[in-house]
């Protein structure tokens, strides 16, 4: 634990990921509409803001732990894919239920993503659980 806290190999990726993820989620939740064109959506709910904060923290923590573990040479197989899967799933589920149809339609995925609209709450939980497992696996154990 102390090795991680004192390691720049953890903190630099963690902070970079925090900035990137926070900026992306802020744009997705329409907080940057003064500066950037945004997706058509209504104001985010408290639940969405809390979920995005938790997701962003877990994504940043996973990124920091991932880089730290790569340097330490003990990175579990499949962790990068799991992190990417959970991050993408979380980002998709932050699009509001109705609005998911419109931007997805632009990509020709309207039907595919429109079907998942009622499942957004459970998909958010799945994204958080997968990220929780990656953090648990990347967390250094006492030897």
């Amino acid at each position: 634990m102390k090795r991680i806290i004192r390691s720049a190999r953890f903190w630099i990726p963690f902070l970079i990921a925090t900035i990137v993820v926070t900026t992306f989620f802020a744009w997705e939740l329409d907080f940057l509409k003064s500066f950037l064109p945004s997706l058509p959506r209504i104001a985010p709910t408290t639940e969405e803001i809390l979920f995005s904060a938790l997701l962003g923290f877990l994504l940043s923590l996973t990124t920091g732990l991932l880089f730290w573990n790569i340097k330490e040479g003990s990175c579990p197989i499949g962790i990068k894919r799991a992190t990417g899967f959970a991050g993408a799933l979380g980002a998709i589920t932050l699009i509001c239920p109705v609005c998911v149809i419109f931007p997805a339609s632009l990509l020709g995925l309207g039907i595919a993503l429109g079907v998942i609209a009622p499942f957004l709450p459970v998909l958010r939980v799945i994204a958080i659980v997968v990220l929780g497992i990656t953090v648990w696996m990347l967390w250094p154990r006492l030897e």
């Binding site: 058509p40 959506r41 209504i42 709910t45 003990s74 990175c75 579990p76 197989i77 499949g78 962790i79 894919r81 799991a82 509001c96 239920p97 109705v98 609005c99 429109g114 609209a117 009622p118 499942f119 957004l120 709450p121 459970v122 939980v125 799945i126 659980v129 997968v130 497992i133 990656t134 696996m137």
Partner: protein, 80 residues
Amino acid sequence: MQTTPTPTPKKFPWLIVSLGIVVALVGYSFVIKGQPSAVANGYSCPVQQPICKGGDCMKNHLCAAGTCSKECPGNCQHSA
């Protein structure tokens, strides 16, 4: 001469996680199947009150952009 066994690298438990995801989705399907309103809410505007009403439709940037125009009963149509 003994050699130190190479530790097997850990693997992400994709099988267990995949099964968990399937169980969660199927279970949730049964939950919302018993509550038709949950499905309807998934496709309807999350705001409880119509946000675009009367002659002020275009003053609200959400209405002007067409958001929730059709999905929310009582809201103005995009062309209004």
